[in-house]
Symmetry: C2
Amino acid sequence: MCYAHDHNHHHDGQTVLTVEQDILQHNNLLAERNRGYFEAKNIYALNLMSSPGSGKTSLLEETIRRLKGRRPVYVIEGDQQTSNDADRITALSVPAYQVNTGMGCHLEAGMVNHAVKHLSPSEGSLLFIENVGNLVCPALFDLGEAVKAVIVGTTEGEDKPLKYPNIFHEAGVCIINKTDLLPYLCGFDIQKLRDNILRVNPRTQVFELSATRGDGMDAWCEWLLECTNT
Amino acid sequence: MCYAHDHNHHHDGQTVLTVEQDILQHNNLLAERNRGYFEAKNIYALNLMSSPGSGKTSLLEETIRRLKGRRPVYVIEGDQQTSNDADRITALSVPAYQVNTGMGCHLEAGMVNHAVKHLSPSEGSLLFIENVGNLVCPALFDLGEAVKAVIVGTTEGEDKPLKYPNIFHEAGVCIINKTDLLPYLCGFDIQKLRDNILRVNPRTQVFELSATRGDGMDAWCEWLLECTNT
């Protein structure tokens, strides 16, 4: 489960704060352990974060099809329930490990550490970590990844970076997905979304693509290959 | 901020659990206070929950236009940042109060209690509480509402009720929005989404509508008028 700070109203705000600091500190230690593991085996890990339904798994499927034979790929899937996403990935003959968070709203470094040991990714591989669909909580939890990527669908409107600034601020990469629906979205302005992303995080790298139709996938995959070109 | 249980791995799981129970219990007490306030003034309160970008505010705007002159309407808006949504509602001459949760991922009963006292809704009014866009955390926090409504866009795929069962399980109403995009979504099956909703929660009332084009809005608004017909 999860809860927000409401220290002003809560009876014992100090206890809450202390417990939260403990949990984040504990997570940070395990994230560094993951980082060391990834360094040792030259694994490039991406933490994919977005709202539910913005197309993370479809993007992964299409990315895997294009990278096949060029890089070894491994996937960790996070969801409250079901192994649907891991099933979709293993159908592409790529090793995937499903983490079910139950009441939890994000992945933590300890869950990733457990999953990584199960997968045992090969030297020089790409590791995609698909977080629980959530634009708030995953932003706070370092998983030891090389880069955080936020995916936002054109159908979600232009204002999401302003309303959920923390996660966009943390993202080294920002992918605008579902560009195939642009002709049917009355009043949506992709340039405004792009401007809002860069307003919150001027250094992020923005990709525009349609995972289902393939537009823009080449640039994204080239970027991934360059990141892992050592 | 928020965090998931990871009691197996955390050093002091008992402390975490106790703090969580304290917070939920504290929230439940304030939710009952809200419930009493709503009973006293015959206010019908709806807690609107969804992923970011599923169209909660657009649905509210169109609903308000149609209920104008038939019921007094008040709105509480929850977002991490910005007052964009409250601005959109007040532009329709309806009183709105914006709550910014900062790092928080959901509204709590105490925030609603504060907002309600600021708005002071009139006798027999409809109070819409638009929660922070999040399919996980808001499910746990009773706000004192009469009914929880989950909105899910056709663009989010059929599997969301299975992957995020808690929130769908709590919902008395479930609204499938963005039906205007159905012709452009390859492979999406609205009947499958409907089946998945009812599989998780057989008693929920399902509406299919397009807030932007108006299809299905009549049935939803009729239902709201009946709920407040005393």
